[in-house]
Symmetry: C2
Subunit: 238 residues, 2 copies
Amino acid sequence: MSALPGVKALVFDTFGTVVDWRNGIARDARVFLARHKREDVDPLAFADAWRRRYQPAMEAVRSGARPFTRLDVLHRENLDALLAEHGITANEADRDWLNRAWHRLDPWPDAIPGLLRLRAKHFIAPLSNGNILLLANMAKRAGIPWDAILGAEPVQAYKPQPEAYTRTAEILALAPHDVALVASHNNDLAAARRAGLRTAFVLRATEHGPGQTTDTRAEADWDAIAGSFEALADQLGC
Amino acid sequence: MSALPGVKALVFDTFGTVVDWRNGIARDARVFLARHKREDVDPLAFADAWRRRYQPAMEAVRSGARPFTRLDVLHRENLDALLAEHGITANEADRDWLNRAWHRLDPWPDAIPGLLRLRAKHFIAPLSNGNILLLANMAKRAGIPWDAILGAEPVQAYKPQPEAYTRTAEILALAPHDVALVASHNNDLAAARRAGLRTAFVLRATEHGPGQTTDTRAEADWDAIAGSFEALADQLGC
């Protein structure tokens, strides 16, 4: 008996749900900051500050204030602003290298073992706000076994816009109810449910570090609730 | 010394170049025709007739006569017309099953061994007129190791429209010259070259059967010319 009977495709939030963005960004920021003799800047705080600019940047697209712009470009604009704030000058190659730290994030330890099991019975793809190249380079480096790279760029919309979910189902030629979003963020799942998708919460209690206060539990009766991708695979009979 | 020095990404025509569409469609058409007691229809001729409707259907999109429509939909319209021509009635599930024969095509024997070698040094993706689901299901079934599923749907253009090539390079954040199209069709390569991409011809002498008269040789000085994906991997030092 599956917790998501009849579901054909599983689509995954990526930053936080599949990969540990905070430690990955801090790892490469540490190298960058040392190269620029700025060991006074805490790499984890740098990662958090970069990430805080993420939602406002996408909001300009969601609101229609600017046309759809892929996340690598938004990340780079945000990085340039953050470096200016710290008075750090860096050349193009150096900035591009750090910007591509988002392509080099590591999965949580249970992610790939769980995905390999889930993939045997379902179509699996990221439904991330990351762009195709970012998600594909991440998958290639880390060995994430996606069946296709979906997400904001093919659908030209950023979550939690409803089109991000419904157009993904259209690409898969499925009714929204035959698709489940797997995410560690309650607001993402709520938007997916409003768009007609099914929902699976996976707890990531340290996405924001040891003192995390948000998304520490499932805040609604999501269709599946699990502590890891492997536990989710158990619940889906995979 | 590589035949394509500095090339970062290889993108592949798929129908004909990676997979043998004619025998794959005929294989499933044979099952369908037998189920409908129409063994009088030759499955290979059926495959050819279905394929002949392919370019005209895309031309309606290229010309702007209709909005971008994914290939699964065009294939289905063409199938419905072909079945009507033969006076075959079939239910929805049956038609959908046959339409998805395009998702179940087998690669030429050298394709996957060659792609596995090419993938070690390059980003590899289909640049096909097939839609994402078609290409992803094909890859999942056959084990084609794409790094991402690109093609007409993410770029909303059908080859040989120049945007099909240039927008693919944009998705990859590469200059067109850093991308090479691998194809068995001279006209596809010519359009890619006009769009600024590099070009690799791979001979598929029996795509259209034993009596094939088109694309039996490289008709221009493509940057690489090979008899198989494995020979191409040799030329690229992979």
